[in-house]
Amino acid sequence: MNTLEITKEPETTTQLSGSQAVLEALLAEGVDTIFGYPGGAIMPIYDALYDYNDRLKHILVRHEQGGIHAAQGYARTSGRVGVVFATSGPGATNLVTGLADAMIDSNPIVCVTGQVFAHLLGTDAFQETDVINITAPVTKWNYQVTDACEIPTALAKAFHVARTGRPGPVLIDITKNAQLQLFAYAGYQPCNHIRSYRPKPIVRMEYVQQAAALINEAKKPFVLFGQGVILGKAEAAFKAFIEKAGIPAAATVMGLSALETSHPLHVGMLGMHGNYAPNVLTNDCDVLIAIGMRFDDRVTGRLDKYAKQAKIIHLDIDPAEIDKNLKATVPVWGDCKETLPLLTDLVTRRDHKEWLGRFRELEQAEIKEVIHDELNPTSEVLTMGEVIRTLNELTGGDAVIVTDVGQHQMVACRYAKFNQSKSNVTSGGLGTMGFGLPAAIGAWYGTPDRTVVAIIGDGGIQMTIQELGTIMQFGAKVKILILNNEFLGMVRQWQQLFHDKRYSFVNITSPDFVTVAKGYGIPGQSIRERKDLKQAVSDMIAHDGSYLLEVMVGKENNVFPMVPQGSSVAEIRLK
């Protein structure tokens, strides 16, 4: 068995404790913010933190799940690694939902968990749990440190693995004795190579050339873009590609904001509650170019009826994604920041005006059937869509939109305008209710100069409402916009459409959110009338600090269009 290789030869050494070495590693990696919660087994690290308070900002969350979601929000808006501290046992198990979320949505996260003394491992000691095995399936990598000498190397490896290639969460579990142990510290050496780890495949020109040939011959090419464009920091290269090739492009939920919503080639969002045109025309295009996305079942609908007529070009950094769900005609493996410019060079400048017109025609049908009434309702009750429209009008599309999970999430993703990248923070793959509020806190720390609006349902807010305490204590200027339909709306919608309206436990009551917020020192108001909407949203945005706005919306409104489960994307329902 080999432990971590300690690469640095001690030249000049100082005696440091393992805990100090952890914090030195964070400083060396450029970390400025930690989200965490102390406890018995991580006390030495917190003790050391006392002396690093001037250089490392620690945000005390109210629950470890809130801590990791905050780190995810931070990673998503800043493009940097989010860092989390938690103690052993329950502290560590409370991270698991966030790890799973970060794993499926490729967020770069480093979690440091305390662990009981090494000699107590396996003895069912107080707050001992097998964190490494519990988290193995939901981490990109994890490692248990029992000797302080390994700490610099373990953390260097953790940051390298978390942020390179397809990013993901990493967990380092450090026993209490290793945190306390003094050792000869020889400085911090960042990791840039692990022999068993290849973050990205080398680009092979022959496939780029084949892809370009297919694109140049295509009459109805169609681009699908995902978060890979954002993670690869390839937004400019992406835009240059679609503009030169003149190809309409649609976003996955995770890809939103990689291309500004107003771009003439942006034809909307894919998937179950995506836009009509990109879903229908997926089954009409001749070449489908997927960039940094993974053909999730919510995007493809019924796979055996998905884009069967099209040749598929798949650009992805993760070899395991190619051919996983959809067979690729041409696999363009690699970092899209490298592959896209190569592809752009080889494609001929085109203008698929007529084909783009097809998207715009179908868009008109969707506007007529769905969008117009959702955004400009004449009903007495407010709709979620008009709240988002009002928000767009007042922010101009410059805000960071963080959502929770459910109907409000789909409505926000459908209608929110984005002017710049890294502006949409949502739990896409795992669909974690309770994600929104803590993620918004982290999102604000990731970009404190921007307006951060957390759009959350009445169900989701109650899952992590304790994080209002974090806002109260540390002053994150998060705008909390609760869209309250007095139901667990998405489940209710399914029960209505597919279970004969048998509403089984979707009727959820809520506290007086404004009063709850007030208890945390956060001002707010609740409205239910259209005449108050614009002023209320305006007040929320204008307030210098966190603010909670509850908007009572139609109880039984549904999100449309919708691709029913088991249907093909072309069978998308407008009502």
């Binding site: 193995a136 990598w141 022999r195 068993s196 080398i202 070899p319 395991a320 996983k324 005609t329 493996w333």
Partner: protein, 199 residues
């Protein structure tokens, strides 16, 4: 053999020798509800590199996807899969039988001879034989000995040598380079594009 048909595949992994590797590898199978028929870990021809030999019964497509998922593990260097035609493989078995059965029953001696079993330990009360070979041969001998008061039986996991492999020494050197050769970084299936990437 049709790609859609299930058959035995031998998966060979080259990994770092770190704690928890078996767990990390085995959950990749169990998450997909795929049974591991046998699993062997051992050192490999390359110093410091561990070798896993895993046997599963699956379609080519499933095995290919599994290998890609396995290669995503940070501590896995390479995953290969092969059909039975492409490997030389063996399993080992140990049999404990009463010594009197061997000395007194002629058929038993014939059986042992026939299957090439050799005695490892001979005592007054029992004798331990070992044999190595394919599963079918071992199973046949086990069935036969069952009639003669077989006291204990154990069979090892499969170990296998890939017929057209050059070993891992060269690959390991390439992996250790910061700027690796194309072949190392690429998934080997890329070179079989016609076979793999079909519409």
């Amino acid at each position: 053999m049709n790609n859609m048909e299930k058959q035995e595949y031998t998966i060979t992994l080259y990994t770092e020798n770190s704690i928890g590797m078996i767990g990390r590898i085995s959950t990749i199978f169990s998450r997909r509800k795929i049974n591991i028929e046998s699993l062997n870990t051992s050192p490999s021809e390359a110093e410091g590199i561990h070798r896993f030999t895993i046997v599963i019964n699956e379609t080519e497509e499933v095995v290919r996807k599994l290998c890609r998922q396995i290669e995503k593990q940070v501590e896995v260097l390479k995953a290969y899969y092969n059909t039975n035609d492409e490997v030389i493989w063996q399993e080992q078995a140990l049999y404990k039988v009463p010594t009197e059965v061997v000395t007194e029953k002629a058929p038993v001696e014939r059986l042992l001879r026939q299957y090439g079993a050799s005695a490892v330990v001979i005592r007054n009360d029992y004798t331990v034989f070992e044999t190595a070979g394919h599963r079918e041969e071992i199973d046949a001998l086990t069935d036969a000995l069952a009639e003669y008061n077989l006291i204990e039986f154990v069979r090892s996991a499969r170990i296998a040598i890939i017929k057209d492999s050059e070993g891992f020494h060269k690959k390991l050197k390439e992996f250790e380079e910061t700027e690796p050769a194309e072949e190392v970084v690429e998934n080997r299936y890329l070179n079989k594009q016609d076979k793999v990437f079909t519409m």
